[in-house]
Point group: C3
Chain length 294, copies 3
């Protein structure tokens, strides 16, 4: 099977022009934040640690543009020899990411659904299969796709605030998490916790998420940067090559499963999303969100 690190990106103009075509391994300017729209990427060359900070108001929803930028940014870091680890966090208060952007799934063409879903897959394949050490600093709510991003990292630190919750709550919207969301969830919390949590579409407040193993530790908000750095240093103390081979061995079966069924998964998404009943659910959900805001 094709290793996820060499998958072709979906054919869209990259968010920052030709930058994405930069040859692998060419280092970025030291510690320079490179320009893009929705994700701030900063690399500290002395430590080899990059930070990807989501800043797509209001709620860091995973639109096609966001996902594309995410995959390109991660690929860029992956190909940069100066980079060994990446911290994923949010620049927006109280929200890590609200998950997939529902407007991308409502009233659009089959072509659009195809492109969107491929970008969701791409994001996950790159992140779950990343050779970098990946640490999620979950500093706000993290439902659905936001939870998937956190689950795909090597380690999850969450702000110790019971108002912030995390989980795959798809069923509550009348939709179903795809099998690879489920596989990723099971690999973190085990079959039983997953079975219950996914069926109920539970959003677990931080203390409960810790108890279930959905996150690895909780820290006060003001300590999360420091703590994330310390965890990253611990993981970077391990020789990269041995750690990468071990990570790949642990995750390969689940990555291979999507790679083997990628087109079917896209077809499933399209046929499910195109159903009038699902479109109706999603529209109602968006109305509810709008009213909440208003």
């Amino acid at each position: 099977s094709v290793p996820p690190g060499v998958l072709p990106l979906c054919h869209r103009p990259p968010a920052w022009g030709r930058a994405a075509r930069q040859p692998p391994g060419l280092p970025l300017a030291p510690s320079r934040a490179f320009s893009n729209n929705k994700i701030m990427v900063e690399l500290d060359e002395s430590s080899g640690v990059a930070t990807m900070k989501f800043k797509s108001p209001p709620v860091n929803s995973l639109s096609l543009d966001f996902l594309t930028e995410f995959s390109i940014s991660l690929e860029k870091l992956e190909n940069n020899r100066a980079c060994r680890g990446v911290i994923i966090t949010s620049a927006i208060p109280k929200i890590f990411s609200s998950g997939l952007d529902i407007t991308e799934m409502c009233g659009k063409s089959t072509e659009h659904y195809t492109e969107f879903w491929r970008a969701v897959q791409e994001m996950w394949l790159r992140l779950y299969g990343s050779n970098l050490v990946t640490v999620a600093a979950v500093n706000g709510n993290s439902p659905a796709g936001g939870c998937l991003i956190a689950l795909s990292c090597d380690y999850r630190i969450m702000v110790d605030n019971p108002k912030f919750s995390i989980g795959l709550n798809e069923t509550k919207l009348g939709i179903v998490a795809p099998f690879w969301f489920k596989d990723t969830f099971v690999n973190v919390v085990g079959q039983r916790v997953a079975e219950r949590s996914l069926q109920l579409g539970s959003l677990h407040p931080a203390p409960e998420a810790l108890k279930l193993g959905l996150v690895d530790e909780l820290v006060p908000e003001e300590k999360i940067k420091e703590k994330t750095g310390a965890v990253m240093a611990q993981w970077l103390a391990i020789p990269d090559h041995a750690r990468q081979l071990t990570k790949s061995m642990m995750r390969k079966a689940v990555l291979d499963r999507l790679l083997a069924h990628r087109e079917e998964d896209i077809q499933n998404f399209i046929s499910f999303t195109s159903k009038e009943s699902i479109q109706k659910s999603l529209r109602m959900y968006m109305e509810m969100l709008k009213k909440k805001k208003g």
Copy 2:
């Protein structure tokens, strides 16, 4: 593979005559307990919640008749659009179910063993693959097949009494739980707990069962009905279709494994059960039970 919901029942006269041939979806009379011998079934049409109450003295053992009635009752509820969830419990004090009826496995013909084992498979395929929300209210001892029924539900509430225990204790009788009992057990408690518990044939007192994750919560006996209703309401708050697809995704691999090996599994059961050494073990065990009673 064939979805478990449409498996043909084994060819026996159904326990309440033609009732089982009722076309799918035709609603029962509102909240009427329908007559049968070993399981009392009651449907509350206002909530959509049915209760299956085992009342087969002395110990709700899973005879061929009991199993057939179970599968037919469940199929009937499954086909009744007014029904969305089922609570499984016992009407007999101190016992949930004692498991497979050993008299069905002793000194009988190959034809009988075949029919019996197919009915055991059928019961599990229907319950584990049920589209309904299934909650076990374990209000007494629950060894072997009794434990399997509880494990096959979506949620398990047990009476908080250390005198009641639950587990797959087959090895203690010199027999072996089949692979799909094992798969069901592993899906609830994980590989390690299962490996130890199944080898030792452990019956876990309620507090230990909670600790191991074999049941989800303990409640005082007088609260079990109220609590079970509350849990059911929580599960019914989720849109059925999304919950059902999610449940199927979580359980499909294990269901498919039996469906793919159903006839082999029957042959294994017959050849194992027909062994003189096993027959002797089972006869000795029955003698012991008789003496205990006397």
Copy 3:
């Protein structure tokens, strides 16, 4: 697939000459310690419990000779009808086993690497697939291959001393635990704990090992013999045949995976070990160990 109990041993002169060719089932002299070099084997015929005590100074490292002796000793016990269980422990203070002997992996021929790795596989196939009840009394440090031996037993009791630790720390040496070490680890602690522990190459102090489920209980050093005996008696109370079939059912998938990929696994080991970068890491590690001692 070939059941592990009948695998041909690698073609080396057995450590104690023709003894290994003794026909299966011929009992040893009652409770006689039989002579060999690196492992003391004692069988108590009254209880059916053997003890394999590692006594290969300084640190019970798993050399080719040690591994061969281990496999032959275990095969001998397996074939001895008087033996139903085996306790595995160390006669050397503070160390259970330091794992694979790195000198066997440094500057040797391809033939040697092949023979060595086959012996490592053999040891695991026999132990993980053993029909005997296997209890590890971990009375000292147990890194890497030492941990694998403990993980392959049915039950692990560790001395309650935070100075003793256990884990698969391969990544810290720049090497990678093979897939079947990983599978064995996952079967004990689950996917998530394994993913983190294997990537970090963690050595868990006894109390942490207990918390993670890596060992089943901790006892004071002076109680370990008594406790191990009590646990063994509990397991021997179960009819052998039912317990063995259950154990085999639980472990078969993981055993079969190595059996199906045994030669590939040897080739992987050789090509990895032969790399100059790996040889360098291993030489540096050995230098460090020498300095530590000196």
